[in-house]
Amino acid sequence: MSVPENLKYYKEHDWVRLDSDGLAVVGITEFAAESLGDIVFIELPEPGTEVKQFDKLGEIESVKAVSDLYTPIGGRVVESNQAVTDAPETVNDSPYDDGWLVKIEPGDTSEMDNLLSAVEYEALLAAEG
């Protein structure tokens, strides 16, 4: 199970990365994608939506179950990944790259300190067994 070191994690199995353009890119982890199974539907917020850290951001549905998606960071949604709403299986195939979900203009980047490092997230996965 891959847990890239350059990302920060929220315990609900979401990841976030701060890019050099100042935007935060958000997605779900490989663990989450594999646990869900075949992802068939994704509902993401409209650009312009304001969200607070750990707010519900949208919904991800596999054949059998619906899961809420939470944002690891607060701010304003600037883009939702059209490619994954059109082809949700992209998230199964590439959870950390092509399968990113939203880009957020962060309100306060210090919120990143409330998140887990890759090592801490791996420990969480190990504990959840």
Binding site: G37, D38, V40, S62, V63, K64
Partner: protein, 344 residues
């Protein structure tokens, strides 16, 4: 793995969508040993079952199977089941796993005191459903029996895996194939031989998607003791006019008056997947509830079933499904959603 009807059952082996596709395009297998198996034997077996089952049991000929429902005296559906006539005085019932105990209690209540003996053989026989366009050819090669000549809803006893097996041309996927019943100690060998032959192992997730595409109701979702067979679209499997049939009076009334509501199929025309329990709306009014809903990989649409008043059951009627607070457009569609090309 997940608990289901008192058994630990696989929801998926690999991917639900891949498994469903394998069944539609090749062959898949399901371990359905969790379903009940109850043998009724004796000179009074037919008369006894005729009081319990919705169809005319004495008319069923040896080697044939018939789908039907078991109703309580109010006409509510305790379970749906297939009855097989194995011999002159020997019948086999296959109730659903979660209802097997209730069905056995129910049968016991109507007392086989008329020369019929009930024997629960669930643990003696395993049951593996092999389904898909290639299923018959693959099983044919294992049995030395012209299985392609066995018609739908027929059952034969043939040598298999060094023993004797019952093969019924029935299933729950809308696809061609057989349900194989064989001694439990031979089941693993058959599973391995089928794997070797390229048959894809499938879990409950794929089974649920496939049966919904085929418009087949699932007891506990689409039918239960609060629904009757006429509103569930199962009227053709019911003969209420038989002497001594325990649900006859109630079902005659429902048939003659016509049901108030109908189990309909619908496709989502807006973005969203309907799930069991979602409200079915017509504008601001709730008119029903979704009983089953899923993505349909075969049709590449999102589909569902639910009960609505009969005035809303015409094909093309526009509805909205309340998907966790979002009203998503849907349209009534005739069942089944999917029907295979008839090749037999």
């Amino acid at each position: 793995m997940a608990p289901f009807g008192g058994w630990d059952m696989p929801i998926q082996y690999d991917s639900i969508l891949a498994e469903a596709k394998a069944v539609r395009g090749g062959a898949g297998m399901f371990d359905v040993s969790h379903m009940g198996r109850v043998e009724i034997t004796g000179p009074g077996a037919a008369a006894f079952l005729n009081r319990i089952l919705s169809s005319d049991v004495p008319k069923l000929r040896i080697g044939r199977a018939r789908y039907g429902v078991i109703c309580n005296p109010q006409g509510g559906i305790i379970d749906d089941t297939i009855v097989y006539r194995l011999d002159e005085e020997r019948y086999l019932l296959v109730p659903n796993a979660g209802n097997a105990d209730e069905v056995i209690d129910w049968l016991g209540k109507w007392a086989p005191d008329e020369g019929a003996v009930m024997d629960v053989i669930t643990d003696k026989l395993a049951m593996i459903a092999v389904q898909g366009p290639n299923a018959v050819t693959i099983l044919d090669a294992m049995t030395q029996h012209e299985l392609s000549l066995v018609k739908p809803f027929r059952i034969v006893e043939v040598p298999l895996m060094g023993g004797s097996a019952l093969l019924a041309r029935t299933g729950y996927t809308g696809e061609d194939g057989f349900e194989v019943m064989l001694p439990s100690d031979s089941a693993v060998a058959l599973w391995e031989a089928l794997t070797e032959a390229g048959v894809t192992p499938c879990g409950l997730g794929a089974r649920d998607v496939l049966r919904l595409e085929a418009g087949l109701p699932l007891h506990g979702n689409d039918i239960d003791a609060t629904t009757n067979p006429y509103e569930a679209g199962l009227g053709r499997f019911v003969d209420p006019d038989r002497e001594g049939y325990v649900a006859g009076n109630a079902l005659k009334h429902i048939r003659d008056d016509g049901p108030d509501r109908s189990l309909i199929g619908f496709v989502m025309t807006g973005r969203g997947i309907a799930r069991q329990g979602h409200r079915i709306m017509s504008g601001a009014d709730q008119i029903g509830e979704v009983t089953s809903g899923s993505v349909s990989p075969t049709l590449d649409m999102n589909i569902g079933m639910g009960y609505v008043p009969t005035g809303f059951s015409d094909t093309g009627t526009r509805l909205q499904i309340d998907v966790r607070g979002r009203m998503v457009e849907a349209s009534v569609k005739p069942l089944p959603f999917y029907s295979r090309r008839k090749s037999v």
